[in-house]
């Protein structure tokens, strides 16, 4: 099993953790921006697509890492499916506008005849404005951003047993690292909860 009896250099690990925190920072920023755009009546399509692509590309990037980094992967990665569904839901929201195909015939009745109303079933559609913020835990934003918290922070609901199960073979010399991993994992889970709207 990977990691059994294998000592990794601390510098390698630190490098990966530094990478993790800057990636996290950018992912956090992407998330904030997408949520802000969603709150606008008419989201900026160009920007939303660029940000969604950036987030997608980051999650794909992580998949391509070598087997040696599998442990880091399991810490860092939000599953590809989760990320895709998060991005899908964001893009579906952008299709809320009624789409007018260009008028191809004369007369007022023809112009209205070509309306097509989107059937997107985004998870935001049925919620009242206040409900949107209910399941967003902003405790992780308080230190990273100057944004005022949308809701009073709640304690993270994540069970702490789970992280340990993903790398049972971590040796005792990296007990400190496990502590760091746990915190980062719970932060990542927060991101995912928000993205998938659980």
């Amino acid at each position: 099993m990977l990691g059994r009896g294998l000592k990794r250099k601390l510098s390698d690990y630190e490098e990966n953790m530094a990478g993790l925190s800057s990636r996290q920072l950018v992912l956090n920023m992407c998330l904030t921006k997408l949520q802000t755009y969603k709150m606008l009546v008419e989201p900026n399509l160009h920007r939303s697509v660029l940000i969604a692509n950036t987030v997608q590309q980051e999650s794909n990037c992580c998949d391509l890492r070598s087997a040696e980094d599998q442990i880091e992967n399991s810490l860092l990665i939000v599953s590809d499916d989760d990320m895709s569904s998060a991005i899908s839901s964001i893009l579906k929201d952008l299709d809320f506008v009624e789409d007018i195909s260009p008028p191809t015939c004369l007369g007022a009745e023809c112009v209205f005849g070509s309306f097509e109303i989107s059937n997107s079933t985004s998870y935001l559609k049925d919620l009242a404005i206040d409900d949107i913020f209910e399941d967003i835990d902003t405790s992780m934003y308080d230190s990273d951003f100057c944004c005022p918290p949308l809701m009073p922070p709640r304690p993270p609901p994540l069970a702490t047993e789970e992280p340990l199960k993903t790398f049972p073979s971590c040796n005792s010399s990296s007990a400190n690292n496990i502590q760091i991993c746990r915190t980062d994992l719970s932060e990542l889970d927060h991101i995912m909860e928000i993205l998938v709207g659980s």
Binding site: E42, H46, V49, L50, N53, C105
Partner: protein, 457 residues
């Protein structure tokens, strides 16, 4: 103007001395958001210069013609006409306000005494006709000078009304309104060389219109996917080829260009040529995708090349080479290490435009801190100039500016961290034949001329 050099001495434009010719606009502390200039465009002769602003207004400047009587006024652009092109609208169906900001103005080639231009906001394109009236008829038979009906008993003979000169009056009338063609935001309009049609592009679609027909348009490009969740690319700019009326190009948020031929099929979703440069793996970062988005595309006057602007570079593409640009120029590469903070403050999404000079030998684009850059394609020299009140005394030659990135710092250099990112030059225009440039800096319009050019008048 007996001797005009197109674009200055060939191959030596970097020695052009630019000086401020005139500055229009209120001082900075008096700026209201509505005054922010959002587009600048010379007409085909360079006699007229139009600007559009966030408040939906269009201001047209006209160049003073040569006159032996007033030699010092020659070449000055004076306000010719101001009119309200677009008003804010409210879309009741979608419950949102449509901004009146003028996104683009394009002049039609002049075909008679009148001038015409197209102006567009996010949704509606309008055709405006600008006419001059400098004579009026006098000597009507049935009406007197004030227009009141004459007492018929006083009319004893028939007279032919004559045209008498009057003070010049410029009249602007909306001739066509092209509405309801776009769901998404219109980013470009381009008049075809056939002078009968034009196209308008939004994020996902491009429509072809006939200038005389407002109730229908033809959709020629549609990149909207069946499921919006599959959307990964939007249209960012488009333009007709200057000579071939069947060719047009559109750029995308992924940094690619697609050249389309309207003769190939009615719906030009399949491009004739795809211009794309493979990404340099050593420059890869989180923001690679975002900074590759093309913000502007312009054909050269010759029609042989295309100029694109993305966040950090301008690129010249040869229509015959799809694999990579023939030239790449760094506009402000020192920002590469600052992309994270530029993403945070949204500056990374700023859309800079680019321009060719009349002879296609020099290209120009804007940057931050009210800087703008020019690149000479022949000598490979480049220059950074500033459009600001402090650094531009009328008729004084503009001093080149330099941004220092640490290391040796010269006097008057400005460091990267001191750049003002709120002062961005997004819109610039170059006179079609002469070395005259119009630079929009927030609410101010700067017109710079080649010193030699201006002294010739």
């Amino acid at each position: 103007m007996s001797q005009k050099q197109v674009g200055g001495p060939p191959g030596d434009n970097s020695t052009v001395d630019w000086c401020l010719y005139q500055l229009n606009g209120a001082a900075e502390f008096e700026v209201s958001e509505a005054d922010i200039i959002s587009t600048v465009e010379f007409n085909h002769t360079g006699e007229l210069l139009a600007t559009g602003d966030k408040g939906g207004r269009v201001v047209i400047f006209q160049r003073e013609p040569e006159s032996k009587n007033e030699p010092y006024n020659q070449g000055e652009y004076n306000v010719y006409s101001t009119f309200q092109s677009h008003e804010p609208e409210f879309d009741y169906l979608k419950s949102l306000e449509i901004e009146e900001k003028i996104n683009k103005i394009k002049w039609l080639p002049q075909q008679n005494a009148a001038h015409s231009l197209l102006s567009t906001n996010d949704k509606t394109i309008k055709l405006w006709k600008i006419t001059e009236r400098d004579k009026r008829p006098e000597g009507y038979n049935l009406k007197d000078e004030e227009g009141k009906l004459k007492d018929l008993s006083t009319v004893t003979s028939l007279q032919v009304p004559v045209l008498k000169p009057m003070d010049l009056m410029v009249e602007v009338t909306p001739r066509r309104i092209f509405a309801n063609g776009h769901t998404y935001h219109v980013n470009s309009i381009s008049v075809n060389s056939d002078c009968e049609t034009y196209m308008s592009a939004d994020d996902l679609r491009i429509n072809l219109w006939h200038l005389a027909i407002t109730d229908r348009s033809f959709n020629i490009v549609d990149i909207k996917p069946a499921n919006m969740e599959d959307l990964t690319e939007v249209i960012t700019a488009s333009e007709f080829h200057p000579h071939h009326c069947n060719l047009f190009v559109y750029s995308s948020s992924k940094g690619s260009l697609r050249l389309c031929d309207m003769r190939a099929s009615a719906l030009c979703d399949k491009h004739s040529k795809l211009y794309e440069e493979p990404e340099d793996p050593s420059n890869r970062s989180f923001f690679s995708e975002i900074i590759s988005s093309v913000s502007d595309v312009k054909f050269s006057h010759s029609g042989r090349y295309m100029l694109t602007r993305d966040y950090l570079t301008v690129k010249v593409w040869d229509l015959n080479m799809e694999t990579k640009p023939v030239e790449t120029y760094q506009v402000h590469d020192y920002l590469r290490s600052k992309l994270c903070s530029l993403y945070e403050n949204d500056c990374i999404f700023d859309k800079f435009e680019c321009a060719w000079n009349g002879s296609d030998s020099v290209i120009m684009t804007g940057a931050y801190n009210n800087f703008f850059r020019m690149f000479d394609r022949n000598t490979k020299r480049d220059v950074t100039l500033e459009a600001s009140r402090e650094s531009s005394k009328p008729r004084a030659i503009l001093k080149p500016r330099r941004v220092c990135v640490g290391g040796k710092r010269r006097k008057d250099d400005i460091s990267v961290d001191s750049l003002d990112f709120t002062k961005k030059i997004l819109h610039t225009a170059w006179h079609p034949t002469e070395n005259i440039i119009a630079i929009a800096a927030t609410n101010n319009l700067y017109i710079f001329q080649d010193k030699v050019n201006s002294e010739m008048h």
